[in-house]
């Protein structure tokens, strides 16, 4: 009997008798006999200490922030996660609860989601936020689907080349079965202005990323008005950490703003679980996908939180729902909520400043190395380094020094030649940056 099962042999017998069958096997008489009780070829079960040893061995085979200096970003970042965040996440009251469909006994989760929505609105300058999507990529895909529903009879989505190539891939996966054209990102070096020039009377949405995939900061003032003048919507994909300093999507008049929320107190986790942030204007609230929490009162008049505007969702609207999303990333939204609460106004700005100044310090040091150069123009925490040799070779040499180098752009942007996308955050100290620069000089 497994240590997770609480029914004893004696109780099993009594329960079978109450049910009126002789054995556990008899409960499965509806299963076709020749296909019943297959023999499963799985490894023998292990005890907790044995299993932990095996897990540690697997874990130790991976590079991680514990043993390596990480300068890799490209959509996932090594940011500071305060110890207090995980302490809250480990509370069983949160992580062993279900979706808060019974509001009377789910006020904790509901209040936390409502606070998440509040914080995201304050951070972005946007009017409303939903309770989360799976990640930044799917948030963009849901933005596109929403735009197609808001801007009727338009079947074109323009996506700038500066949007993370993985997000563009997810967008294409999501829309592949719909009669929609996705364009704007075909040409290397295509700018936001190039993308804007493709926004026409058939276009429902323009998607841009700021800072873009290559780390560059853009001045987006004026863009929204031009897009809206053509009857389309503007979606700005942002970096939540950058908003501690830089232009918000709300300030530039975005209709939709999305982000990967991993930077907000969620570890790298080898790619997930992360957090899809989705925000838009109040007037589109009936068109958005996913859950949203509102405020009301109970029969005694007490203020309380509840999932609201549910008539958009799959369990009620079925094939007419705005999306099929059900389970989202609730606990990750809680992590982001606790993170933002801890950092506060001052901390959010301080993290952004640390990223900015350290990244610029690193860029200046690397640009001074023979054979290396750094792309000009404003950037936040990520920048393109042109290298004298293939990036794969440089990264292999850095690995010997327990440094995880930048993202090799040779697949996504081959026209840049030997180019690496380097990320520097508040977790990369000056000493660590100097070690990277010294290593680059040597390799």
């Amino acid at each position: 009997m497994s240590h997770y099962i609480s029914i004893t042999e004696a109780e099993r017998a009594a329960m079978l008798a109450a049910i009126g069958v002789n054995s556990l096997e008899d409960l499965f008489a509806d299963v076709p006999e020749e296909r019943r009780f297959p023999r499963l070829d799985l490894p023998a079960p292990l005890s907790e200490p044995e299993l932990m040893r095996e897990l540690r061995a697997l874990s130790d085979m991976n590079a991680s922030t514990h043993g390596h200096s990480i300068f890799l970003g490209a959509g996932a970042y090594n940011h500071f996660v305060p110890a207090a965040v995980d302490q809250i996440l480990r509370r069983g009251e949160y992580y062993t609860a279900y979706t808060p469909y019974q509001p009377e006994i789910s006020q904790g989760t509901l209040q936390a989601i409502f606070e998440y929505q509040s914080l995201i609105c304050s951070l972005t300058g946007m009017e409303i936020a939903n309770a989360s999507h799976y990640d930044g990529g799917t948030a963009i895909a849901e933005a596109a689907i929403m735009a197609l529903n808001v801007v009727r009879n338009r079947r074109k989505i323009v996506v700038a080349r500066g949007v993370n190539p993985q997000y563009r891939a997810v967008l294409r996966t999501y829309l592949q079965a719909l009669d929609v054209r996705i364009t704007g990102d075909e040409t290397p070096d295509a700018t936001i202005e190039d993308a804007l020039s493709l926004v026409d009377a058939q276009t429902a949405l323009l998607i841009v990323q700021n800072p873009d995939f290559l780390g560059r900061l853009h001045d987006l003032r004026g863009l929204a008005a031009q897009v809206q003048a053509r009857g389309a919507l503007l979606c700005v994909h942002f970096d939540p950490i950058a908003l501690g300093l830089f232009q918000t999507p709300g300030e530039v008049g975005a209709d939709i703003a999305t982000a990967e929320g991993q930077s907000l107190g969620i570890g790298l986790n080898y790619g997930g679980p992360y957090l899809g942030i989705f925000t838009t204007r109040q007037k589109y609230v009936h068109k958005i996908a996913g859950r949203i929490v509102g405020v009301t009162r109970d029969v005694d008049g007490r203020l309380a939180y509840v999932l609201t505007l549910r008539a958009r969702e799959q369990d009620i609207r079925r094939e007419r729902a705005t999306s099929n999303i059900c389970t989202n990333q609730g606990l990750m939204a809680l992590a982001a909520t606790v993170y933002m609460s801890l950092l506060g106004r001052q901390g959010m700005r301080q993290v952004a400043e640390l990223c900015y100044h350290r990244a610029h310090y690193a860029a200046a040091q690397i640009a001074a190395l023979p054979g290396y150069s750094v792309e000009s123009g404003p950037f936040f925490k990520e920048f393109v380094v042109r290298c004298p040799r293939p990036v794969a070779e440089i990264n292999a040499a850095l690995r010997e020094r327990r440094i995880v180098g930048g993202y090799d752009l040779s697949q996504d942007e081959p026209h840049l030649g030997h180019a690496m996308l380097l990320a520097v955050t508040e977790m990369n100290s000056k000493a660590e940056i100097d070690r990277l620069v010294a290593a680059l000089r040597e390799v």
């Binding site: 997770y4 329960m15 799985l42 907790e48 085979m61 790619g271 106004r345 200046a364």
Partner: protein, 493 residues
């Protein structure tokens, strides 16, 4: 009593902060003035660490959770979440590894993913598994896009109809619609199975396939599953298995051997990764060899040297999310399977089914069973209590809260009036089941004798029944000091 917990913003005061960050150790670079945010973040709160911890601890106590009590929420498989899994997922090589780091630096993570693919395939009888989807609904989307790609690949583009039983989860029709397909509903018969005559009438050269949950949402094993699959295949369609109810048949039957072509696993149900108050989940998918080339990627394979690597299947429907799936959930599911082994997994399903049937037989005299059959891991009863006037299932559900239990799933499946869907799971003790049964029987008595107790319920929860219409008609979706003050003022009058 006013149990109001202040909103986070009401605890804020300028000048506070709750994080201890590194000092700047490099020279400053001038900031590009034109690109800076203009509002100085005046709207953003400021608190200290002790305040934040107390706030989120206090509001956590306003939640019901598996750790605090019985959660017989049908279709959701609210079983115990082992602590070992939480430690496992937080090992540094898992929790702080970058998803784009070189494969040579990720062999442990890739091996774990590869092995989980193998285990899930073995348990379900499928040839290949992709761990990409983030949740069950995304697994469904992967499946329906795969069906579409398969038919297009065979130059069979006229297939545009997805068959969905009338008892199906809402995600099924919503998913079919996201793939641009038309939903065709198939009726259930008197024994709760797919109505074979209705199925035959609705199959055609336009059929993409059928989405079926087995055991179905009535908690019953489809008695004609092999025949259903044969009919769908004969019409050129494919069988999609919604794995929401897989907890009933681990080691009991393999969907791949029952005629399914593709299924998703809810790792957050069957393989007990925590629900997290609404996620994250994981909706890994498995399929037959014929559909394998279309799976979403990346998947993990071994190269000739024995090293693990990521790859995109040759005709893949594409990437459904960034990176490689909800990896932290994969670590937990792997750990669960390795803790239990084949015999342990079978025991999970046996006891899950035993517990559900026990609850069924102990309650069905007072709460009529929707279909009188032996059930699988959950049972669907009706809140139609003999002799009770004006009592609805919702009232029964809310009264259970006063007895300290989370309500079952209610009003689902849609084809059962006043449905109460009870899924005890295998991790509950008989003592707990008996206490729940006793509470349900007591509530049935109250429904006849003192129905007001049900109508007023809950009275022993942090808040009582809510004005949901107000929440929707006057939406307040972020902190608004005026709106909060108004509601609080109304309460004090």
């Amino acid at each position: 009593m006013d149990t109001y917990e202040p909103h986070l913003y009401e605890l804020s005061a300028p000048g506070k902060h709750g994080a201890n960050l590194p000092v700047l150790d490099v020279p400053e670079t001038p900031l590009p003035e034109a690109l800076l945010r203009q509002d100085d973040m005046n709207d953003f709160p400021s608190l200290t660490e002790p305040e934040v911890i107390r706030h989120y601890t206090r509001i956590s106590q306003r939640n019901y959770a598996i750790d605090t009590g019985f959660y017989p929420l049908g279709s959701c498989t609210m079983k115990y979440n082992p602590r070992l899994h939480e430690e496992a997922a937080r090992l540094p090589g898992f929790a702080t590894a970058h998803p784009l780091q070189d494969a040579s630096l990720s062999q442990g993570a890739l091996q774990l993913m590869y092995e989980l693919q193998e285990y899930l395939g073995e348990i379900s009888g499928f040839d290949a598994v992709s761990l990409q989807p983030a949740a069950g609904a995304q697994g469904e989307f992967a499946g329906i896009l795969t069906f579409r790609a398969y038919h297009l690949d065979r130059n069979d583009p006229q297939r545009v109809e997805v068959l969905v039983p009338d008892a199906a989860h809402g995600t099924n029709p919503a998913t079919a619609a996201m793939a641009g397909f038309k939903v065709v509903e198939v009726k259930s018969d008197a024994r709760g199975n797919v109505d074979l005559d209705d199925l035959k009438a609705k199959l055609s050269p336009r059929t993409v396939g059928m989405m079926l949950t087995n055991p179905n949402t009535l908690g019953l094993f489809e008695e004609h599953i092999v025949e259903v699959a044969r009919l769908v295949h004969e019409a050129g369609g494919l069988m999609y298995g919604d794995g929401a109810n897989f907890n009933a048949i681990l080691g009991i039957a393999r969907p791949g051997e029952l005629g399914f072509d593709f299924m998703h696993y809810n790792l957050h149900k069957t393989f007990t990764t925590p629900h997290g108050g609404g996620g994250p989940g994981s909706g890994a998918v498995g399929c037959t060899a014929a559909l394998t080339p279309f799976l979403p990627g990346p998947r993990v394979r071994r190269d000739t040297s024995g090293a693990y690597e990521l790859f995109i299947p040759e005709k893949s429907i594409g990437r459904l999310k960034t990176f490689h799936g909800n990896f932290g959930m994969l670590v937990r599911a792997w750990t669960y399977i390795r803790s239990l082994g084949a015999a342990g997994l079978r025991e999970v399903s046996e006891i899950a089914v035993l517990n559900a049937n026990y609850a069924r037989v102990m309650l069905k005299d007072l709460y009529p069973q929707a279909i009188d059959r032996i059930c699988m891991h959950e049972t669907v009863l009706k809140g139609q209590i003999a002799g009770a006037q004006g009592v609805r299932t919702l009232d029964i559900a809310k009264r259970l809260i006063d007895y300290g239990f989370h309500p079952p799933t209610v009003y689902f499946p849609l084809i059962v009036p006043e449905a109460l869907m009870i899924e005890p799971t295998e991790t509950e003790s008989k003592r707990t089941l008996d206490a729940f049964i006793e509470a349900m029987r007591q509530i049935a008595r109250e429904a006849v004798e003192t129905p007001d107790l049900l109508h007023q319920a809950p009275t022993k929860a942090p808040v009582r029944r809510l004005d949901e219409v107000r929440a929707a008609r006057q939406p307040v979706l972020r902190y608004d000091a005026e709106a909060f003050a108004r509601i609080r003022e109304e309460a004090s009058q």
